[in-house]
Amino acid sequence: MNKVLTIAKRELRSYFDSLVAYVVVGGSMLGLGVWFFLMQQGGFWQIDRASVGRMFEFLPWTLSAMVLPLVTMRSLAEEKRTGTLELLITMPVTDADVILGKYLAALGLVGVLLLATLIYPIALFVFPFHLGALDWGPVFAGYLGTLLLAAAGLGVGLAFSAVSDSQIVAFFFTAVTLIFLHVVGNVVELIKGPVADVISFVSFQTRFAPFARGLVDLRAVVYFASVAILSLLFAFRSLESRKWK
């Protein structure tokens, strides 16, 4: 476990030493601000409700299309390209340590981003403004859902980073996959039957919806966790496969 943390610490430092962390956190906060106050039915003030629900309309999309692919693209692809992976793996660490360390670091960075967004409910409803009595239930559920969605998406990103030597390719495939998993939920409204059931089962959007309304859906928790675990296992196998190629 120590080694996982050592690797995670290094990765996290590397995020903040490069532009990635600032682009991710800064860009997302800027986008969130524009969305929150200006777009969608005229913005926060026009709706006139004590709710930050619109935050959870914005975050899943931004995470899927930009943040998660951006955060995971380098993780393994870049290390394979530059050869640093060889030095890392020939230290007394297991492949699982490497995968988990990188995963934790990516989750940590997204965690920082989510913490930064807490400024919205706090600034608007606690201090310095008191715009009403905020119902914190949906806020916490929303954060939990977002974190779970991020956990699953980061797993997918890491898996693509493990099979590719190029950050760009890893970014592209991760973004396309996550966007697909997201929008596929919209198809359900057009078709019916078992296919629709399957689609709504795998869609991130459908799975995330209850959280945004303040419900913690246990099936969704299990689903996101499963996606994360399967992706990490895949990444692990892919890293291990270097030995046999």
Binding site: N2, K3, T6, I7, R10, R13, S14, D17, S18, T82, G83, T84, E86, L87, L88, I89, T90, M91, P92, V93, T94, R242, K243, W244, K245
Partner: protein, 331 residues
């Protein structure tokens, strides 16, 4: 004695599809030896080293490092060795000290031990002036030193270095080999290179591989003797003792007539004739050459006998590799 064997491979093989990168390589390296692992590019040096360091898995045979099997006890193997891959791939965004700290953390070295070890590797590798710098700011030479420091931080009994000097300038190379000798006094070192001077400078023993196989293994003197020839070089002034000029043809033909001379090559030089003679190992030409010079009134500027250069042996043993590269009919 067997506990003295630090690295041992037995019929080690690695295939990529139908291509055999390593083909049944067997060798042993004992405690305290610095062994040069030689071969042309693509001969299987790096692949062998990557198997020994548990980065790749062999497709056949076994390899043991410090008595532990690379497959069965991969973590144990990696704990007991320090490895510097080709071109020292380090995290460029880290500082030198920070990187060493990272390597030490991954090797479970506590803070006080790290302090002691860091002081020693910084001294041995000559890093005192760059400790605070970021690795991306360092020259290749210094990066290589950081790579070596990283490999030494846990005081491993075994060092595996893959072409550690390939990016260095001649000064850095000489210094690096100097470090290596200091470090190698109480360690086992396997050093791959295709630069033969380095092997001659730092190693007592060499293993030569070609196309995935071991083609020579033994003390340098034995390997040199393998070709069974010695070289004698001599330089004769174009002006004789009495001032009369001497022609090259005259010198060459007179020398070629000496019993035991199997080949005469003329080397470029100005105002003199420089000749490179080959002869069987049990023949010493020097006395005959001196007598000949005296008799003919030549001015002898240089006369030296040396076992055949390692380079020639190397070329003899591995030439097939290159020939194959240039032979279109084989493809």
């Amino acid at each position: 004695m067997s506990s003295d064997v630090m690295i041992q491979t037995q019929d080690l093989s690695k295939s990529y599809g139908s291509f055999k990168a390593v083909d049944r390589i067997s060798f042993e390296v004992r405690r305290g030896e610095i062994v040069g692992f030689l071969g042309p590019n693509g001969a299987g040096k790096s692949t062998t080293m990557r198997i020994l360091t548990c980065y790749l898995a062999a497709t056949g045979g076994t390899a043991k490092v410090n008595g532990k099997d690379v497959f069965e006890d991969s973590l144990g193997v990696r704990q007991s060795l320090g490895y510097l891959p080709q071109r020292a791939p380090l995290y460029l965004d880290m500082g030198v000290l920070e990187y060493l700290r990272f390597a030490a953390d991954l090797r479970d070295i506590d803070a006080s031990t790290f302090k002691k070890r860091a002081r020693s590797v910084v001294e041995v590798c000559g890093l005192a002036q760059v400790l605070g710098k970021e690795i991306s700011e360092l020259s290749h030479g210094y990066r290589q030193r950081v790579g070596l420091a990283q490999a030494l931080i846990h005081d491993p009994p075994i060092l595996i270095l893959d072409e550690p000097t390939s990016d260095l300038d001649p000064n850095e190379k000489a210094e690096f080999l100097e470090y290596l000798k200091r470090i190698g006094q109480e360690r086992t070192v396997l050093l791959s290179t295709h630069n033969l001077n380095e092997v001659e400078a730092a190693c007592a023993r060499a293993i030569i591989v070609s196309r995935g196989r071991v083609v020579a293994d033994g003390p340098l003197a034995d390997i040199r003797a393998k070709s069974g020839a010695v070289r004698t070089t001599l330089t004769v002034s174009a002006q004789g003792l009495t001032g009369a000029s001497v022609s090259e043809a005259e010198v060459t033909s007179a020398i070629a007539a000496i019993a035991g001379v199997s080949k005469v090559d003329s080397l470029p030089s100005e105002g003199s004739y420089r000749l490179d003679l080959a002869s069987p190992q049990d023949v010493d030409l020097r006395a005959d050459l001196f007598r000949l010079a005296v008799q003919k009134g030549w001015l002898l500027l240089e006369l030296a006998r040396e076992a055949q250069a390692l380079e020639d042996v190397f070329r003899d043993l591995t030439l097939g590799d290159e020939r194959k590269n240039r032979d279109l009919t084989a493809a």
